[in-house]
């Protein structure tokens, strides 16, 4: 279980997170929604330790994430970045097997390559893709490779940062379905940030809405449409009028 309590983060005078309280139950899929620039990515990076919160606590299974062994902590995570963040200089299979080729439990090269090809198959890519470079792939294929890399080391927790941004609706649907399948199949705890409502409905068990630096509403996805919360209603229906200012 991931738990955030009173997390604050500011960049200079810009207060991004102003006391975020959120709990993500084990083996469930939490989707955080909110407009652009509301701090969703910052929140995710705070959990991973890529950004240090100014105050508040973040715990994983009851342990403060800032006080645990960093490598052991990160070994439990997989992450799909918004732009896939594949390493340009490495072949696709080397990207996928990056973690498998390094560290104390490093696999031999051929075993890591086999494991990478298996993960590529899992996300719907052919083995021939393995020897290409990321620049030779389409945006959708890069997202799939990023997904294969995120699941390569069988993590317990996977973070998805805007998984469908920049994709056409069909490819976005494919990625959403893949994410849902993988989350259910592997029994992982998932945290996704997005403003794409089709992703929310496809991926989420629970939804949290981040606005003005705090969680405005959180609940099961099936209660999202019925909630009277004006922020959620404006956001999910894409209304220009409401409590969320349309020009930020």
């Amino acid at each position: 279980m991931i738990s955030l309590t009173a997390v604050h983060k500011a960049f200079g005078a810009n207060r991004v997170l102003c006391g975020v309280d959120l709990t993500i139950p084990k083996a469930s899929s939490m989707v955080i929604i909110g407009g652009s620039g509301t701090g969703k990515s910052v929140l995710l990076k705070c959990v991973l330790g890529l950004v240090s919160p100014d105050s508040g606590t973040i715990t994983l299974d009851g342990q403060d994430v800032t006080k645990t062994d960093r490598d052991a902590f990160l070994a439990r995570f997989g992450m799909l970045f918004q732009g896939a963040a594949l390493f340009d200089s490495l072949r696709v299979w080397e990207n996928v097997a990056f973690r498998l080729l390094r560290g104390p439990k490093a696999l031999p090269k051929h075993a890591a390559r086999d494991a990478a090809i298996e993960k590529l198959r899992r996300v719907g890519l052919k083995p021939e893709t393995a020897d290409l470079f990321p620049a030779e792939l389409s945006g959708g294929m890069q997202k799939r490779v990023g997904l294969a890399r995120a699941i390569a080391a069988e993590p317990e927790i996977i973070f998805f940062d805007e998984p469908t941004t920049g994709l056409d609706p069909i490819m976005a649907g494919v990625i959403n379905d893949l994410i849902r399948e993988i989350v259910v199949e592997m029994g992982v705890t998932a945290m996704t940030i997005t403003h794409d409502m089709s992703s929310v409905r496809a991926i989420a068990d629970h939804v949290a809405m981040l606005h003005d630096g705090v969680i405005q509403w959180t609940g099961p996805v099936k209660e999202m449409d019925a909630t009277p919360d004006p922020y959620v209603q404006q956001f999910i229906h894409g209304r220009a009028t409401g409590p969320i200012a349309s020009v930020r």
Partner: protein
Amino acid sequence: MTTGSPTPASALAALGRPVLAALASVGRVTLFTASVLGHLVRPPFYLRELGHAVLQIGWFSLPVVGLTAIFTGGALALQIYAGGSRFNAEAVVPSIVAIGMARELGPVLGGLMVAARVASSIAAEIGTMKVTEQIDALVTLSTNPLKYLAVPRILAATLTMPVLVAVCDAIGIMGGWLVGITRLDFNSATYLKNTMDFLQPWDIGSGMVKGAVFGFIVALMGCYHGMNSARGAQGVGAATKAAVVSASVLILAANYILTEVFFTS
């Protein structure tokens, strides 16, 4: 009513701000250097990345360094001949070309050419990796970006620059020899004998030591500015420019200090 004229306090503040900013930059670079040096001696070591960096920084810099050296050696021979002829001292051309190339021009020009080629490419590559979240991805894959990206490049530049300087010396002396025998009527064997007689091992050794220091500076500046690149294409461009400018200035400053240390009693 405010007059708008500057007060002594505001003038001092205006003077102090850039000084404080410069001191803060020096502090950040010093901390970065200390961190790199710490990682140099602590495992894991990324040998494949080191090999790749040796190839990129050392081997692929040979053409530009060689071309720079041959033209510089030739021009140096012409200048020394022209200057020496005022004192009937044309015979010093081979020895001065050799000493000048080995002690100063080989390491400094080699360092500046590598700064232009390598510091810019390192800063642009790492800066792009930063803005496309590849550095964050490394962290999430339990890999220290400093150790994986900076240490192999800095080590490779430090190890390969002395070799590049030695090659630069040899090609520069050849350039002088070529001009000497074709344009200045030197006898080939005499030119080479004079070169060998006057050139001492420390002339070459000191240049290679300078090369190692300059290589360290070039890669350090490339990595530092790349890692601290601001967002977007403009941020990467600014980081690349800062890397080349700072590496070039530091090479010239370090050259003066090393020359003082090596050649003044």
